[in-house]
């Protein structure tokens, strides 16, 4: 019996690799296993190798595994590309149709199973995926009954006969594999999971659900990888709440439309990836100077320009903090799990209204598209706070005097009135303006308005700006990261501890304004600070250096080849660093 394993299915893009992984993982999720999935895909629709690697564990896991236990191959390319990842007890289950060959230096066992033939005999070769799922279940020693519910949900609307055919395909695959394995059935038998109900979702689902819970009722967006799932989810769900999504003509329209909608009082958002964010920059400045709430999601991918559209990277950090000409108050958050993405997105709408400024939710491809187990989400913890929104009657002013929408206040935040409100008329402009919003270039006014805006987020209230795992008062290494690297750090940390190295972990959840006071003691309490990030220039390390003392301790662990970190990378490099310093 084992506690965790990794399963991967691969083939040509457009061949149904996704659905194979979907059925397999949904059933395991219902049994209570913790899952973490990561897709390898290319920027094309049909053809090209694609795979979906899913880790299954009886304990919480948020990282891709170093190695692989089971590889389901729909073509020889899948074997060639992935066999080296298989461990010594690895198993390849391949479709007989392509006459699979096990490479000479492969240590894995190859089983050729007639996926396509079995499926075709049952009526359609489309069901080859079900045969593969059945065969996988035999290796795992699973009862195929667990799949029935899932199959029924997927194919139920096509009729009972289709459901039965798919179950038969599953069963045939199972029996065929069982016969081949003989006494080896259940070589990869997992320990029983706890059977608890948990959610299984990608980060983008969590962001979209968080937006609904946070009161978002309008979205304007332009499709882009890896952000589109957010708009696709909301367009399905918003009509039932009276709201809608507009797919705009471009990214600039998406951002400015969201600004217009927020100005008029609905909680509205937009979402994109790096290329879209680059286009939105001028608009983000408009939100800043006009103090219009705005929630924007940036799902980072490989840059610059079109870069690596379907690969992991975390290189938008500096652009999100500093990117817009001029200076504005801004909040940049970076959830590290789907669970945090849910709560942080809901909270982003509160912060946008409370501080009347743009709020950027930074994600990355691995978090946005990686599918992970999420503990039940606690809706009761979601608050709706609208800051200084004026809801009562406004007394009539003398001589059509405008409402002081940009009143100079001690905290910099002014009362906000929505268009349509009687006696609340004021002007909004991206030009520097006075307290009523009328353009003014006077030096004293400029300074007063600039100071007012910049002091708004100075004392920002943010719950747990750093996710901390502090095990030692004095640590050898403090590992620092943001977004999806949390899981890999946690796993590497465990291994380093086993080596006798004392490790603390700080994952930055509020990137800007940077929680320096919270971070400084953690830096002080470590001999070395290693900042782990998927970019080439160490952007988070630089932000850290700008905000804390003792910067000579800070070093970077960088990966920018498009692939996420693996626990082994992090473990060995941190160990080397530790040993080098302790010779």
């Amino acid at each position: 019996m084992i506690k965790q394993l990794s399963w991967k299915v691969g083939g040509q893009q457009g061949e149904g690799i996704e659905s194979t992984g979907e059925i397999f993982s949904t059933a395991l999720n219902r049994l209570g296993y913790f899952l973490y999935g990561y897709r390898h895909f290319s920027s094309r629709i049909k053809g090209g190798h694609t795979n979906n690697k899913i880790r299954v564990s009886i304990t919480d896991t948020r990282s891709i595994a170093d190695d692989l236990d089971i590889l389901v191959a729909f073509d020889q390319e899948t074997i060639e590309v992935n066999y080296k990842e298989l461990n010594n007890t690895g198993v390849i289950i391949a479709d007989t149709k392509f006459d699979p060959k096990n490479p000479d230096d492969s240590t894995a066992a190859l089983y050729s199973i007639p996926f396509t033939e079995i499926a075709a005999e049952l009526g359609t070769s489309l069901m080859k995926n079900m045969v593969a799922v059945g065969a996988s279940s035999a290796v795992l020693g699973l009862d195929i009954k667990v799949f029935e519910e899932v199959v029924r949900e997927i194919f139920g609307r096509k009729g009972e006969q289709i459901v039965q055919k798919n179950m038969e395909a599953l069963s045939h695959g199972f029996e065929f594999m069982k016969a081949k394995l003989g006494s080896k059935v259940g070589t990869h038998q997992l320990e029983r999971a706890d059977g608890q109900k948990r959610l299984f979702m990608i980060g983008n689902d969590a962001i979209a659900l968080g937006a609904l819970a946070g009161g978002c009722r309008f979205m304007a967006a332009y499709p882009i990888t890896p952000a589109s799932e957010i708009m696709e989810y909301l367009i399905k769900k918003l009509p039932a709440l009276g709201g809608t999504v507009i797919q705009t003509e471009d990214e600039i329209a998406a951002c400015t439309m969201a600004i217009g909608a927020n100005y008029a009082g609905v909680r509205a958002m937009t979402a994109s990836a790096g290329p879209g964010l680059s286009l939105k920059m001028e608009s983000i400045g408009l939100s800043g100077i006009t103090e219009t709430p705005l929630v924007i999601v940036d799902t980072q991918r490989g840059g610059p320009s079109t870069g690596l559209p379907t690969k992991q990277e975390q290189s938008d950090l500096m652009a999100m903090i500093y990117g817009t000409h001029g200076e504005i108050p801004k909040i940049v958050m970076a959830p590290s799990t789907a669970e945090e993405a849910f709560y942080d997105t809901a909270e982003a709408f509160n912060l946008a209204e409370e501080y009347q400024c743009p709020v950027i939710i930074l994600s990355d491809l691995q978090l946005s598209l990686g599918k992970q187990t999420v503990e039940p989400l606690r809706y009761e913890e979601i608050e709706i706070r609208r800051g200084k929104l004026v809801t009562g009657n406004i007394p009539k002013a003398e001589n059509k005097e405008y409402f002081k929408r940009y009143e100079l206040t001690s905290d910099g935040i002014s009362p906000r009135v929505l268009p349509g409100t009687k006696n609340g008329i004021f002007h909004v402009t991206g030009v520097e303006h006075d307290e009523t919003g009328k353009p003014s270039e006077a030096a004293a006014n400029r300074k007063a308005q600039m100071d007012k805006r910049m002091r708004k987020t100075r004392d920002i209230r943010f719950n747990r700006p750093i996710h901390k795992n502090i095990r030692h008062e004095e640590a050898d290494i403090l590992l620092v990261g943001f977004n999806s690297t949390r899981g890999v750090i946690e796993e590497a940390m465990g291994r380093l501890e086993q080596d006798g190295i004392k490790v603390n972990h700080a994952h930055v959840r509020l990137i800007h304004p940077f929680p320096a006071e919270d971070m400084q003691p953690l830096v002080d309490a470590a001999k070395k600070v290693v900042v782990l990030e998927n970019n080439a220039t160490g952007q988070l390390a630089n932000i850290l250096k700008m905000n804390v003392g003792n910067v000579q301790k800070i070093s970077s662990l960088l990966k920018y080849d498009g692939n996420p970190f693996l626990p082994n990378n992090v473990h060995s490099q941190c160990k080397e660093l530790f040993e080098y310093d302790n010779i």
Partner: protein, 288 residues
């Protein structure tokens, strides 16, 4: 009783004396009053350029945005609060150069807003460069030998983009212009109104006198039927687009808002932000 004076504020426009934009401002104020609007129920969203300042000169809610983007901002405002009357406004550079992508798609989308372009065939605020509306041969600071690009016809373009309301006017015809803006406000869908608004400082070709000599009123063309799209197009072509009046109107077409599935009658700005536990549980269950 609301009059145009209720739409006046205390800000003195920074336009040059004689600028056509003064009349456009007056026409919007009159049309708003004639439409029975309260000032707080009107939102004027403007772009960047001399004309973009107009949102600050009308006593109503106003939003002076960024260059070329008044249309997406205005559409966002209308989507958030369908009870507001939304007027978007800007110059020919704003709408037909930097913002052209938005103009075409706002026309297609047909959200119920009125877009007034103050067309002076030149870039005024940057002190005299060519515009997409400048005629070929037009000499400016950026085209010292004369423009080698032809002028765009926004009216023809709007017709081909599927516009439901296309009109053109001349800023000195205050009465006609007011009536057209009123019709635009009343129209259920996107209304595009191009107004020839001469720049007295930088455009010495397309002057008041030039327009008076060259414009044809559609009302003077016998039997002109603004519901006939084909006739509208051929009339524009025949007159080199130099016509004024309502060129085309499709009163049958539904606005974008009327077509959105589930779109609330209550403005979204006033919607309940709480999902409720039951609804949330149902959404979460889809991920189990």
């Amino acid at each position: 009783m609301i009059t145009f004076k209720d739409f006046r504020n205390d800000v003195k426009p920074n336009w040059c004396p004689g600028c056509g934009d003064f009349s456009v401002q007056a026409a919007i104020q009159r049309a708003a009053a004639n439409s029975g609007l309260e000032p707080e129920k009107l939102a004027v969203i403007s772009g960047i350029g001399c004309s973009g300042r107009i949102s600050g000169y009308i006593n109503s809610y106003g939003f002076h945005g960024i260059h070329g983007r008044c249309l997406p901002i205005a559409q966002g405002v209308k989507m958030a609060n369908r009870h507001l009357t939304v007027i978007a406004s800007g110059g020919d550079g704003d709408g037909f150069a930097i913002g052209m992508g938005h103009t075409i798609h706002a026309i297609r989308r047909n959200i119920d807003i009125t877009y007034i372009v103050m067309d002076n065939q030149i870039y005024g605020l940057t002190k005299g460069q060519t515009s997409p509306r400048s005629e070929a041969g037009f000499k400016t600071k950026s085209t010292p030998q004369g423009s080698i690009e032809p002028a765009l016809s926004p009216m023809e373009m709007a017709l081909t983009a599927g516009a439901s309301f296309v009109a053109q006017s001349f800023s000195t015809d205050l009465k006609d212009l007011t009536a057209i803006i009123e019709a635009g406000i009343k129209h259920k869908g996107f209304s595009l109104i191009n107004v020839f608004s001469p720049c007295v400082t930088y455009n010495k070709v397309n002057t008041y006198d030039w327009f008076k000599a060259n414009l044809t009123k559609l009302s003077s063309i016998e039997g002109y039927d603004p519901s006939d799209r084909e006739a509208a197009m051929s009339t524009l072509m025949r007159h080199n687009s130099l016509v004024t009046g309502i060129i085309y109107q499709d009163s049958e077409r539904k606005s974008y808002q009327e077509l959105i599935p589930g779109y609330a009658e209550t403005p979204l700005a006033h919607s309940d932000l709480n999902l409720g536990q039951e609804r949330f549980d149902a959404l979460a269950a889809e991920f189990m």
